[in-house]
Assembly symmetry: C2
Homo-oligomer: 238 residues x 2
């Protein structure tokens, strides 16, 4: 197909597609007789959709997207390494911490948590520093009650990770070894599971919070008996 | 204290503090004899730490931070409304969707999920549209297996929301009604619970994913018997 049809089917404008071509995110089309008339196929369409999911849903920069796509394209990388690259790419740049000593104490708390959970984590995993940032901020803001929920959150995170890895395993099992689709299946599950899964969990947490808050408010106004949601007098359902 | 000491204690540079003053995020200090020598107190320090947590950890823009702080400062707003404002402020701007019809189908799936879970959600909650974006992207990328985990994720989100609301309740219970600290406690728990809690859950999910992936990799190499983490031969612990 021509670039105009690729644009129409992907919903990505022609100038943006040309930008992705220049930036090396999207491989060039097959050149035809005329110099401005490259031909594109379904692989370009799928790649464009992947790029847009990483940028629009994952909020990733062009540079981070390029890094993830390079890893996706590298046949030497397997699932576990790909996950690390995806995690590093989606980790936003950290700002310098105001109080280095307090941060180091928070980082030690994070190491203690990892040891307590028995988690196998690479010592340079960016999520360790990110979690230390959060812990240090909670302490600086005297919000130590929030730290009491960390093990409850960790339980939820483990449940979610089991679902994630189950999805990868299911995708792998569906494609026989040696099939070129097997790698694409794994890559998709790992990269998109990281990015789209995070956006999904964030949206669901907000919805569950709103529901819990609405029930609490409702209970406060009319007594706890009506907080079970059966009264039909609660906030409007979506 | 003078601005130099406020800068030293908060770790925020003097030019940045002056920028927050100009932007109205930080109230001005008490003017002293000399025009350039305003005096600041502990409330300014706490406010600066709150601003930095929202910006650095929550990734919020100056405009979104101003909106949340205005809500925090409005005594007419109570917990449930504040939560809604915090959710709207932390929701990044959505890009137009490429396929409006496919998106509408995804939005219907989200409404079905909300009905299935029995959640009380305002119909204009931004998380509904955000979740529809994710569902539409998963369908466009033919990653429908990822949609199978949505109820597992929703279970985890509910567990997390119960922890969040429990924290708010604990903070409220610790301060008697009528105490001006009560409002500050509630506001802190709601706003920071939203922002810091999200960053905490995101970091924990990545750590739990890395652990689950390491165990899967380890199991694949040496047999499933050693995947329980007791062998001591797994990846390095942090």
């Amino acid at each position: 197909m021509r670039i105009a049809e690729l644009s129409r089917r992907s919903g990505v404008s022609v100038p943006t597609i040309k930008y992705y071509l220049r930036e090396g995110l999207l491989p060039g089309g097959t050149t035809t007789g005329s110099p401005n008339q490259a031909a594109y196929d379904e692989t370009h369409l799928r790649r464009l959709r992947l790029i847009r999911a990483l940028i629009d849903i994952g909020g990733m920069s062009i540079a981070a997207t390029r890094e993830v796509l390079a890893a996706v394209d590298d046949p030497a990388l397997e699932g576990h390494e790909l996950l690390g690259i995806a995690h590093r790419a989606v980790a936003p740049a950290r700002r310098p911490v105001p109080d280095a000593e307090a941060w180091q104490r928070a980082r030690t708390e994070v190491d203690d948590l990892v040891a307590r959970r028995g988690w196998y984590i690479s010592p340079d995993a960016p999520a360790l520093d990110k979690l230390a940032d959060v812990v240090a901020a909670m302490r600086a803001l005297e919000m130590v009650e929030l730290l009491a929920v960390v093990d409850g959150y960790a339980d939820a995170a483990e449940a979610v990770a089991r679902h994630d890895l189950g999805t990868v395993a299911a995708r792998m099992a569906a494609v026989p070894p040696g099939d070129p689709q097997r790698r694409a299946a794994m890559v998709g599950a790992v990269v998109l599971g990281t990015v789209l899964g995070e956006a999904m969990l964030s949206a669901l947490r907000r919805l569950a919070q709103e529901d819990a808050s609405a029930r609490m408010l409702h209970a406060g106004r009319t007594g706890p008996g009506s907080a079970d949601g059966t009264a039909g007098a609660g906030p409007q359902r979506a």
